[in-house]
């Protein structure tokens, strides 16, 4: 079958590590028509090819890495890449997304995606240099940290022109929540995709590409991306210039002011030490000229440039340098009660070099601190594990990465599996949903985030929707128009939140499947129809916006309107659900942990909770809209037919997994 859509490179690389075989296939037309690429295509590949009952660290697991149709093109943010597999942390659908320009390079080399199976007999790396693709010996790099491995591989290949995706020693040690790190700084952090890569003896994937990409309708394409650029450049949020100045660490002080900053393992939601670990503190003290990239860095074709870098010049952690993000600061900082930014920055950099997900690592440490304080876990290794102890926090990062001693080995399981092993009522102190621990926003305050955590296909996660709408004081008219309630944009209101989550979830699925960045529909709302609605409200004559439907159509030549776009998003959410039903996910798993149904004990949000009955009511509405059975959470046959997913229905029907 020929493949003639624009935007795509047109080929899939299949790698069987056990046999050392590499195949180049023509891209699947039916798959991209229904699922576009990236997250959507990866979920479909896993649905079609993965044996659901395998151990995720068995060689039969599949690791998918995919770009989307706009990755590598000119346009407002085109550098994101998707990774998917069966997660060793959660044992369900695992997936993560990273920035940089690695994905673009893969497409310039001629490939949209890579499907990796099997296990190499000894450590190797996959070297892609345009049409030359081979497995090379990586014995000399095994045990090396991300920084050394990446720089060494660039030296071996084409220098900076070679882009590197690597795993670190923690993944090789079998820590369950390891990342794949792209080009030193961008991490596909969550759900342990790096651990799966390590279990396959695959240290890295290097890519050098010199080809070109074609779009279906170049004139129309330029018009569309110009509209999108202007949409971002005129977005009120972008105009504040705050993200470019502070990056995501902007959320530390901001979250604290809004009263949703998880503190001491979610015991509280405001942190007295927030300012000392804030983005402002980092900017003022550590973003010096000697930091690795003093001006900050952007992923491919992004005007936002949200990556901030710094360096510690003196003291105990002198020489620490790198990028920093909000989630890592909260994980090692407020969640552990640590207000020493140098210790937090150091822990963050260590975790990245070991190749671990900062969120799960920090959450495991914070959970242990609380369990020790509650007398449920013994501090057997005598580390002084208690909230606020920065030294113990940093030491635990080393110990977890190396699975050293009892607490290090326990921590390497992640908070949830460790709590199961500890027994007693330890699980009640975790914030895990479907096995994954919660990011840095307390859902008792941000209600749309709460519903998102409960329904997210990869376990507790905000990025499946990124409903920042409820945080940025959008006019009530917008809430009414888009989600049927003037209160929808109020942080602590439940009204309109289900519709808000559904809309964001459909669009987030598209964003992740085409290779664009979530910032552009959360944080900034340069995305159709938000600028149009705001323009109407403020009597603005000229309005620009990012129109995914036109953008994809001009790039690929497919005919996609706004309605069809949302349907594709809905289909992607459903293919992920289909996959998860095979992993045993049902309604009982779409839940919030006990911690979040209990009221916040102090601070400005004292008394706020997310009651179970409230969540159940929202789930009924959500399921009805998704076409899922209210009792079991299985997808209804009629919905799969409506979504043109007959082949998925046939498979699930045979397994008795539809209603």
């Amino acid at each position: 079958m020929t493949f003639d859509y624009g935007g795509y490179a047109g080929k899939t690389l299949r790698v069987d590590l056990s046999k050392g075989k590499i195949l180049k296939e023509t891209q699947s037309k039916p798959r991209v028509e229904k699922y576009l690429g990236g997250r959507g295509a990866d979920a479909k590949i896993l649905f079609d090819e993965l044996e659901p009952n395998i151990n995720p660290l068995n060689s039969d697991n599949i690791l998918c890495i995919s770009t989307g149709p706009i990755t590598g093109l000119l346009g407002p943010t085109t550098g994101r890449i998707n990774v998917a597999t069966k997660s060793p942390l959660t044992e369900i659908y695992g997936n993560s997304n990273a920035g940089s320009d690695w994905g673009s390079e893969l497409k310039y080399a001629g490939y949209d995606n890579i499907i990796i199976k099997g296990k190499a007999p000894k450590p190797v790396y996959l070297c892609i240099d345009d049409e030359h693709v081979e497995l090379k010996d990586a014995a000399h790099l095994w045990r090396e940290g991300i920084f050394e491995a990446t720089l060494a591989l660039q030296e071996e290949q084409r220098g900076y022109d070679t882009k590197v995706a690597a795993i670190g020693p923690a993944a090789e040690n079998g820590v369950l929540f390891c990342s794949i790190i792209f080009n030193l700084w961008d991490s596909a952090g969550r759900t342990g995709t790096g651990t799966v890569m390590a279990s396959k003896n695959l240290k890295a994937i290097t890519v050098s590409g010199s080809g070109e990409l074609k779009v279906a309708d170049p004139d129309r394409y330029l018009e569309i991306v110009r509209d999108g650029w202007l949409g971002i450049l005129n977005d009120p949020g972008f105009l504040t210039g705050e993200h470019q100045a502070l990056g995501t660490p902007i959320c530390v002080n901001w979250g604290n002011a809004q009263g949703w900053l998880p503190t001491r393992n979610f015991r509280e939601t405001t942190f007295e030490g927030a300012d000392s670990i804030s983005g402002e503190e980092f900017r003022d003290k550590y973003s010096t000229r000697s930091s690795p990239i003093p001006g900050g860095r952007a992923c491919m074709s992004c005007p936002n440039r949200c990556k901030r870098f710094g360096r510690i010049e003196s003291g105990k952690y002198a020489g620490t340098r790198g990028a920093i993000e909000f989630e890592g600061i909260a994980a090692f900082g407020s969640k552990c009660g640590v207000s020493d930014l140098e210790a937090v920055f150091h822990a963050y950099t260590l975790a990245n070099d070991y190749g671990m997900d900062c969120v799960s690592c920090g959450n495991a440490i914070a959970t242990f601190m609380e369990l020790v304080e509650e007398g449920i876990l013994e501090d057997v290794d005598k580390l002084g594990l208690k909230f606020g102890n920065a030294d113990a926090m940093v030491e635990m990062v080393h110990r977890i990465a190396n699975k050293q001693d009892k607490l290090g080995s326990l921590g390497a399981l992640g908070a949830y599996k460790a709590a199961l092993k500890i027994g007693k009522n330890a699980v009640d102190y975790t914030t895990s949903i479907k096995g994954m621990d919660t990011i840095a926003c307390d859902p008792r305050v941000a209600k749309g985030f709460g519903l998102t955590y409960a329904i997210s296909s990869r376990g507790s996660d905000h990025l499946r929707t990124h409903v920042v709408f409820e945080m940025i004081r959008m006019p009530p008219e917008i809430g009414k128009e888009l989600f049927g309630s003037e209160k929808a944009c109020d942080l602590m209101s439940y009204d309109g939140k289900v519709r808000m989550v559904l809309w964001h979830e459909n669009l987030a699925a598209i964003t992740d499947s085409i290779g664009s960045c979530r910032f552009m529909h959360g944080s900034y709302y340069a995305q159709y129809p938000v600028p149009e609605l705001l323009g109407k409200l403020h009597n603005k004559k000229e309005v620009n916006s990012i129109k995914y439907h036109d953008w994809i159509s001009a790039a690929t030549g497919m005919k996609i309107d706004y309605k069809k776009l949302l349907d594709i998003g809905h289909r992607i959410v459903n293919i992920e659900r289909a996959l998860n039903t095979r992993f045993g996910i049902r309604r009982k798993d779409d839940m919030l942990p006990k911690k979040f149904s209990e009221p916040i004990k102090k601070g400005p949000r004292k008394g706020q909770s997310f009651p179970k009955e409230q969540l159940e009511k929202m789930l009924d509405e959500y399921y009805t809209n998704r076409g899922w059975d209210l009792k079991t959470g299985l997808i209804k046959k009629s919905e799969l037919i409506k979504l043109d997913m007959k082949e998925v229905l046939d498979d699930l029907d045979k397994e008795n997994l539809v209603k």
Partner: protein
């Protein structure tokens, strides 16, 4: 004379060159009066980033973690936080 504490986040901390300061208030002084004091003290740039033209993204002021009307009468010991509205992470 009594005082309030004003905390500056984001770009406000760059313009003022500080992250917080204590400001004396007189009896009956409103939030609007305080903003005028800050406009006078920090000038055009400060006023600009307050950003009326940013619509829903103009400066957000909370007092003791609550959003208050501009006519709010300040109390000694109030903590006033000035920031932009952002999202992300």
């Amino acid at each position: 004379m009594t005082n309030v504490t004003v905390k500056y986040l984001m770009v406000f901390s760059q313009i003022t060159q500080k992250r917080k300061e204590v400001i004396p208030i007189s009896e009956g002084m409103t939030l609007q009066d305080l903003i005028e004091v800050l406009y006078a003290k920090y000038g055009r740039k400060f006023k600009k980033v307050f950003g009326k033209d940013l619509g829903h993204r103009s400066a957000l002021i909370t007092i003791n973690s609550e959003v208050k009307e501009i006519s709010y009468i300040l109390n000694p010991g109030d903590e006033i936080l000035i920031s932009h509205i952002v999202g992300g992470g």
